[in-house]
């Protein structure tokens, strides 16, 4: 009984505190032109009631998490994780997913297909960023710059030299890779949090240069009429092109998944994971820190570049406004929500975060605020993401016929 009373008291205090906190910004709105003040007391009531319950939930979750860290974690694999480990089941689910995806443009309208293309571009970006953050543990806040490099390289090469999509796709990836290596080389020896800020700086530099260097990038007005990818010289209808791009991006996503899956268990993939856990121990084991990090950075950038080429081909119009730092944060959010290092996680995270706001139009304006909340809440309550990456662990099982050890 006393505990319930205590809880209510704490929650009431929290609610009162938040009502005080949000009072000027949420309740008062000043119209400086007509000298009117709008009082929105309803908001305050909402905040009061909302925080009362949220604070209870918050404390309950914190308590549960503290309990969780004490108990052994190995036996608590979630349903999805167990599914992933069960190869037979996993393959059948994956096959269903592939069939569904292939049939998708024929089952749904073109509008839906178009949304799905955007979502899949984000999946690709998320998977690329996953190499950098999830595997190598480098926080890259300027990731969208490489996306911009890809998009602009297709747009400009096409404009000046008439390069077609299929040549631009690897070339855009290559250019982004070169940019990644050039930028990564001097900064990768910095510590984690400095690295994040420097990459953010690089991202903004690229965007600002694209915005101001009119002769090169046509400034804020951007580049329009970027051609869609050609299909063996046949002119496709608008619907046909959309479906065609859909299949291209699906193929690219599958290719990405394949590559990352192979990388995961390769020598270099393991070097990344080791580097993320302990840099010093890693160097002592003879792993070249700078080179390994640079590889992750460059590979991540390459995927962003290819995503950029597809993006430019899909929208057929690009301008610097599509490549702000917050775009990087959205991609980061998909990786964090899904689960750093986990391919399935990033896939689900990206689809969820990009598709949900599209279908819940009513919440569209709350999109960014929810992304912000997701980042904080995931870090506080579930740092591993929705579908946590299952690390390979070895268990030593006592065999029954082992000689008993006297203690």
């Amino acid at each position: 009984m006393t505990r319930a009373k205590d809880e209510i008291k704490k929650s009431t205090l929290t609610a009162l505190w938040f009502m005080f906190l949000t009072f000027p910004i949420l309740v008062i709105r000043v119209n400086t032109v007509e000298n009117e003040i709008e009082w929105r007391w309803l908001n305050m009531a909402g905040i009061g009631i909302g925080t009362f319950f949220l604070s209870m939930l918050w404390r309950y979750m914190i308590r549960r998490q503290e309990m969780g860290t004490k108990t052994d974690k190995h036996d608590q694999l979630s349903l999805v994780q167990r599914l992933l480990l069960n190869r037979k089941l996993f393959f059948s689910v994956a096959a269903c997913a592939v069939v569904f995806t292939l049939a998708f443009p024929h089952m749904f309208s073109m509008y839906q297909t178009s949304i799905m293309i955007s979502a899949l571009i984000y999946v690709m970006l998320g998977l690329g960023l996953n190499i950098v953050i999830g595997l190598a543990g480098l926080l890259d806040l300027g990731y969208v710059a490489f996306f911009a490099v890809g998009a602009y390289s297709y747009a400009l090469l096409n404009l000046h030299y008439g390069l077609v999509f299929w040549i631009a796709l690897p070339l855009g990836g290559l250019l982004a890779l070169i940019f990644g290596v050039l930028f990564g080389y001097p900064v990768l020896r910095l510590r984690g949090d400095y690295l994040a800020i420097v990459t953010l700086g690089f991202g903004e530099i690229i965007r600002l240069v694209l915005e101001n260097w009119n002769a090169f990038s046509f400034g804020p007005s951007g580049i329009a009429d970027i051609p869609k990818p050609p299909f063996f010289g046949i002119d496709l209808s608008l619907t046909g092109t959309t479906i065609y791009i859909f299949y291209i991006i699906v193929a690219l996503v599958i290719f990405t998944i394949f590559v990352i899956n192979r990388l995961h268990n390769s020598r270099i993939g393991r070097a990344w994971i080791a580097l993320k856990d302990d840099e010093i121990a890693c160097q002592a084991m003879g792993i070249d820190k700078a080179k390994t990090k640079l590889r992750a950075f460059g590979l991540g950038a390459m995927w962003a570049g290819m995503g950029g080429v597809v993006f430019a081909a899909k929208t057929s119009f690009i301008n610097p406004a599509s490549f702000t730092i917050w775009e990087s944060v959205i991609i980061l959010c998909t990786v964090v929500l899904g689960g750093m290092g986990s391919i399935t996680g990033v896939l689900c995270g990206a689809l969820l975060l990009i598709l949900l706001p599209e279908y819940l139009r009513a919440f569209a304006e709350f999109r960014m605020i929810i992304f912000g909340a997701v980042l904080v809440l995931m870090m506080v309550f579930r740092p591993g993401g929705m579908i946590e990456n299952v690390r390979q662990t070895y268990h030593f099982k006592k065999s029954p016929d082992a000689a008993p050890v006297d203690s």
Partner: protein
């Protein structure tokens, strides 16, 4: 004439630098104590400016005299910004500190908080630029010099110097200052000696947010308009300043801010204003590459 232009740019850079310094202090103090880049710090500054705008508009419409409006707006901004700083720390950083989460997690959480606060103000208020009233009056006695430095700029300089002096006193001579210094040296040891580390962290956030809010009010009334996005660029620039001076060092933050203010002012005055923001970012990248410990910072040696 040539010399006058130089003086004008010099003083302009000084004002700019002092504002950066007010924000950079918060970054540097928080980093000094918990080694976290408080990404949401720029947003605190923005919230300070918004609170001041709201309070001053309401009070002006109620017909209060100018002096009372200025004081109430500044006080309100400081109180609310401190409250936000305190709450942010409790929600987004303290649980992570308790769970011994990696630094990357804390940084991601900070970015989330920044995004959240920006959009909170965007949704609750407006996405437009709001005109900010010029709260600071023109002084009579300053008139002969006002072509070089306007009265508001004089107030900005005066406030910055006062804040610096107060902050130095707080850190050097008070008990909580002593606790702060101890915590920044070794958090574990400080807590073993009976220092309430959580309290010290909260006080740091409150003090840092208060100075940022002052900076927000001053720059808003100087520039004359605010919007929800103002905290981002200002925050990044202040961070650049803090890193330049050596993050964790308070005199370093001031020095770095002044250097950044002057370079920006002279760069835009003599060369070009198109790439003003690019310049700040480039500066950051170059410092971090060539001297990550900053001008006054100590080079960290890694223990194994």
């Amino acid at each position: 004439m040539e010399f006058d232009y130089f003086t004008y740019l010099f003083l302009g850079g000084l004002t700019r630098g002092s504002i950066y310094a007010l924000i950079a202090l918060g970054y540097t103090m928080v980093y000094g104590i918990i080694e976290l880049i408080n990404f949401a710090h720029g947003e605190i500054y923005m919230i300070g400016a918004f609170t001041a705008l709201i309070i001053s508009s309401v009070l002006t419409m109620m017909g209060l005299p100018d002096a009372a409006v200025i004081l109430a707006a500044a006080a309100g901004a400081v109180i609310y910004a401190s409250a936000y700083g305190f709450t942010i720390e409790k929600i987004a950083y303290k649980p992570l500190r308790d769970a011994n989460a990696p630094r990357l997690s804390a940084l991601i959480s900070a970015i989330g908080m920044s995004l959240f606060l920006q959009n909170y103000v965007l949704l609750a208020q407006t996405s437009d630029f709001l005109p900010f009233p010029n709260l600071i009056p023109e002084f009579k006695f300053w008139e002969p010099y006002s072509h070089l430095l306007t009265s508001p700029e004089l107030v900005i300089l005066g406030t910055t110097v006062t804040v610096m002096v107060l902050l130095t006193i707080l850190i050097k001579f008070t008990q909580i200052g002593k606790a702060m210094r101890a915590t920044s040296q070794d958090r574990m040891m400080a807590s073993l000696l009976g220092i309430n580390v959580n309290m010290v962290v909260s006080v740091t956030f409150i003090v840092g947010s208060a100075t940022a809010a002052l900076g927000g009010v001053l720059i808003a009334s100087h520039i004359g308009q605010i919007n929800f996005y103002m905290g981002f660029i200002a925050g990044i620039k202040a961070f650049v300043a803090a890193v330049l001076g050596g993050i964790g060092s308070i005199p370093g933050a001031v020095l770095g801010s002044l250097i950044l203010g002057w370079t920006e002012s002279f760069f835009t005055g003599y060369i070009s204003s198109d790439y003003e923001d690019v310049f700040a970012f480039l500066f950051l990248v170059l410092i971090l590459i060539f001297r990550p410990s900053g001008i006054l910072g100590r080079a960290e040696s890694q223990k194994v």
